[in-house]
């Protein structure tokens, strides 16, 4: 096991190097002087300012020298600062990450909560009406883009029923759980819908495969009740690929909440990112991108390791 972890970590480091390198090159690929790209168009472009930026970014050094010094800074948590807001990128991320993280986790949690029972039901009643109905529902859910579902949610829950606020975000740390939930439920639901669909499809198909396994027949021949078989025998072997997808989705959500965050005015990473993109705040774009990519890689590694911890077959070998 230690060996597995070690090789996995080694791979992780290699991947991270490549990821950071690519992100770093982003600035390089832009046409023109990087200083031009970094400064807002109406900036007071004094000689000192330009010189200062060049010095801060070591723009006069060769590319690789700059990459490694940037990488060093990155490892130390220094991603530079925005020349538009003046805030450091690290602060920005530290500020936004909890929000996006919560959204991602909540939406995955909500999706799982509904998807797993649905998927099990579909597999258990395969071909019968409960399956047909849920499969159809899941298909539709899968096909509704989340921004469309978001519009609908706001219209229904905020404007018509006035149950939940339409926009905004109450930080868990400041306003407490209830207030936080009020603002987080809608965007999380909007994000959850398509995942719910993916998850329940996955659980259903894996479960169907599992239910055809001989060991399920064995369990039935032992006279165990169906519910017991479904949950104690079939669920765990059926949820291994679900775990991978949950991991991948989780990583992807860190960068995938852009639209929903903009729509619900949720001040997460995505919202900041789209603002940065709109104002061409390159260092912020770069910083957030490299962070998300890094997080994605790390999360997937962790999921891989967890996966092998969960499946005794893999754990052994």
């Amino acid at each position: 096991m230690a060996r597995v972890i070690a090789t996995r970590l080694l791979r992780l480091v290699a991947t991270l190097l490549a990821v950071t390198f690519l992100t770093f090159s982003m600035l390089e690929l832009l046409p023109g002087d990087p200083v031009d790209t970094l400064l807002p168009p109406d900036a007071n472009r004094t000689e000192e300012l330009v010189a200062q930026i060049r010095a801060e970014l070591n723009l006069d050094d060769p590319f690789f020298v700059r990459y490694f010094s940037w990488l060093g800074d990155f490892v130390r948590g220094d991603l530079g600062k925005s020349y538009i807001t003046g805030q450091t990128v690290a602060d920005t991320i530290a500020d936004r990450l909890p929000i996006t993280l919560q959204l991602a986790m909540m939406s995955i949690g909500m999706a799982l909560l509904i998807a797993v029972p649905l998927g099990i039901l579909g597999a258990y009643k395969q071909g019968k009406w409960p399956d047909t109905v849920t499969s159809a529902g899941v298909q539709v859910a899968l096909s509704v883009p989340n921004f469309i579902f978001g519009i609908f949610l706001i219209w229904l829950m905020a404007v018509q029923l006035q149950w939940l606020p339409a926009t905004g975000w109450n930080r868990l740390t400041d306003q407490g759980l209830v207030a936080n939930l009020k603002t987080s439920v809608l965007p999380a639901s909007a994000l959850a819908l398509s995942q719910l669909a993916v998850f329940s499809r996955l659980v259903r198909s894996d479960m169907i495969a599992t239910l055809q396994e001989n060991y399920v027949l064995t369990a039935r021949s032992k006279g165990l009740p169906d519910k017991y078989i479904l949950f104690r025998h079939a669920l765990r072997p059926s949820s291994l690929s679900l775990m991978t997808i949950v991991g991948i989705n989780f990583g992807a959500l860190l960068g995938g909440t852009v639209i929903i965050e903009t729509m619900f005015a949720v001040p997460g990473l995505g919202f900041r990112l789209i603002n940065a993109i709109n104002s061409r705040d390159i260092l912020v774009i770069q910083g957030i991108t490299v962070f998300i990519a890094t997080a994605y890689v790390v999360i997937n590694t962790v999921v891989d390791l967890l996966y092998s911890a969960l499946d005794p077959r893999i754990r052994r070998s």
Partner: protein
């Protein structure tokens, strides 16, 4: 050199003028560009909207919180550095005050100043400051403050531009509470500059000590104090218990306990947020939102049309726009009514003929009459004349179509306007139109770098006309902001003259002449005046009629920014 650079973005208001599209463009630019024309189709609707400024009656009560949905986050809070559009002004002015403010009648009255006078040729201005004002951090406000602010302003992007536009050469403290400004050239509109970035008072020691930190923790003298700033989420300001101003009945201002500013970029959800009670106040610079808000129940609307004109400009340095026949022809073909009609801005904003809306004291009937309004046949004729001219400037053979590249930022509403214009121009059978879109930043830098042809633009300045007009009529080689790259000696002289008098009628006359020249030279095309809106829960009062310290009526809520000193919530 530095002067030219300064011109590109003169003072804060003119920064707004040039980048106005930019800052709000994510949301609004388009509508401004296209919306007008209300008067032609249903003028009644426009008149229905009561835009007169009156002081509200009613029992003022203390307490209450306002949650204000803004169309964008105001990232920078440094008046000397950051461009500040409408969302930003709302936040910034709740905490920082200006030396002067605009009155309802368009003149400027003192706010943190008590008085300002000039010498005869408007080159030296002496201002006395209000006594007994302190900053949120307890620092006193006095002449030294202004002196200390000056180097900070000079070092900042916005500040330097504002100094430049105001023609300010130097200043000195001529007393404890007295400042003397010396200008490089006459500027009768200097008080207007002091109602902008130049006059926006921030605590200079704190600013100098930690310039970047100021964005998170701005310190001014205003009625509200920064409480909590969570960028992109909410900025909370709370009542300044030591605020210096009282209402006419002697009650200490402000009435509100706090204001929470929330950026909600999505127009639809912003209005939904108001309708669902998530926020109790919002603003919008989009005509479509105004229309939707008009249709909604249970909210109170404040609409405003100021010196905002949407449209575009031609780069006359590039053929065929160097020929007035082309520009005039294109303008004559511009079916303003159709542009607005197609946009659904009908009944909200009026078609534009000049840089001032009929609300403005500078609006004149002559200028309106002189503008080449829609006359398709005349337009076709004008362009035909150019096309048939063997000496046509674009070097093509007589009879060949002219090429027009029309460029706007990629806002859906602007695109809609563009499409209508494209349709009419193409419809003449004489023009070959290409549409391009660039994001806001590129759009502006294209104009700055003269990489533009026919270019969407918005002139948004609720301020003295000189601030917006001067850079445009200045010689192109001296003024980067002369985006049309056109020089009319007469207009230039007229603008100079306008700076040498403070007589409103005289100035109106001068600016009218400039507008007539604009009509003659056709270096711009107009669509409509841009309406802006503040929509609130009906219990929120005091947005419309607030008073300057001298008891005169302020100018309401120009460009959807709200002065919160006297806002209260009706119980």
């Amino acid at each position: 050199g530095g002067d030219d650079d300064g011109d590109t973005a003169s003072d804060d208001t003119s920064v707004e003028a040039t980048t106005g599209d930019a800052t709000d463009d994510t949301g609004d630019g388009g509508d401004d560009g296209g919306d007008d024309g209300g008067d032609v189709t249903t003028p009644a609707t426009v008149e229905d909207t009561d835009t007169s400024i009156v002081r509200e009656e009613g029992e003022r009560t203390y307490g209450g919180d306002v949650i204000f949905g803004l169309e964008a986050e105001a990232v920078g809070m440094r008046p000397w550095e950051d461009a500040c559009g409408e969302p930003c002004l709302n936040i910034q002015l709740s905490m920082m005050e200006q030396l002067m403010r605009e009155r309802a009648d368009g003149s400027y009255g003192p706010w943190l100043a008590t008085d300002i006078t000039s010498n005869d040729d408007f080159t030296v201005w002496t201002m006395t400051l209000r006594d007994g004002v302190t900053f949120h951090n307890g620092e006193p406000f006095n002449a030294q403050t202004i002196v200390d602010m000056y180097p900070v302003q000079q070092s900042g992007t916005s500040g330097a531009a504002a100094i430049n536009a105001a023609k300010l050469a130097s200043l000195e403290a001529t007393g404890d509470m007295e400042i003397t400004y010396t200008l490089s050239t006459p500027n009768s509109a200097f008080p207007a500059s002091l109602a902008g970035v130049l006059g926006r008072v921030f605590e200079p020691k704190a600013a100098a000590a930690d310039p970047d930190g100021f964005t998170m923790n701005p310190i001014g003298t205003g009625p509200f104090v920064m409480d909590k700033r969570d960028i992109d989420n909410e900025t909370v300001v709370v009542r300044n218990e030591n605020y210096w101003m009282s209402d006419p009945d002697g009650n200490q201002l402000p009435y509100l306990d706090s204001i929470t500013f929330r950026p909600i970029p999505d127009e639809g959800t912003r209005l939904d947020s108001l309708l669902s009670g998530t926020v109790n106040m919002m603003h919008s610079l989009r005509q479509g939102t105004i229309r939707d808000a008009r249709g909604a129940d249970g909210i109170q609307l404040y609409e405003f049309q100021g010196n905002n004109t949407g449209g575009g400009m031609y780069n006359t340095a590039v053929p065929p726009f160097d020929d007035v026949r082309v520009r005039r022809g294109l303008n004559l073909m511009n079916n303003q009514e159709a542009v607005i009609d197609a946009l659904g801005g009908t009944g909200i904003s009026l078609p534009a003929t000049q840089w001032f809306s009929p609300d403005s004291p500078y609006w004149t009937q002559e200028a309106a009459d002189a503008w080449p309004t829609f006359d398709f046949e005349a337009g076709v004729e004008s362009i035909q004349a150019y096309i048939d001219d063997p000496a046509r400037s674009d070097g093509k053979a007589p009879g060949e179509l002219i090429d027009v590249e029309l460029s706007c930022p990629p806002d859906p509403t602007l695109i809609a306007a563009m499409q209508v214009i494209e349709q009419v121009w193409t419809g003449s059978g004489l023009v070959n139109v290409t549409l391009t879109q660039f994001d806001q930043a590129t759009h502006i830098s294209n104009a700055v770098n003269d990489a533009h042809r026919a270019h969407c633009w918005r002139w948004s300045s609720n301020q003295d006309p000189s601030l917006a007009i001067d850079p445009v009529v200045a010689p192109p080689e001296e003024s980067v902001s002369n985006f049309p790259n056109f020089f009319n000696e007469e207009s230039f002289q007229l603008a100079q003259q306008a700076l040498q008098t403070d007589d409103v009628e005289e100035r109106t006359e001068l600016y009218k002449e400039i507008m007539l020249n604009f009509a003659e030279d056709s270096i711009f095309w107009y669509s409509g005046y841009t309406a802006t809106m503040v929509a609130v829960d009906p219990s929120i009062q005091g947005i419309n009629g607030w008073l300057l310290p001298d008891g005169t009526l302020g100018n309401g809520f120009p460009n959807a920014f709200v002065t919160f000193t006297e806002v209260w919530i009706e119980q």
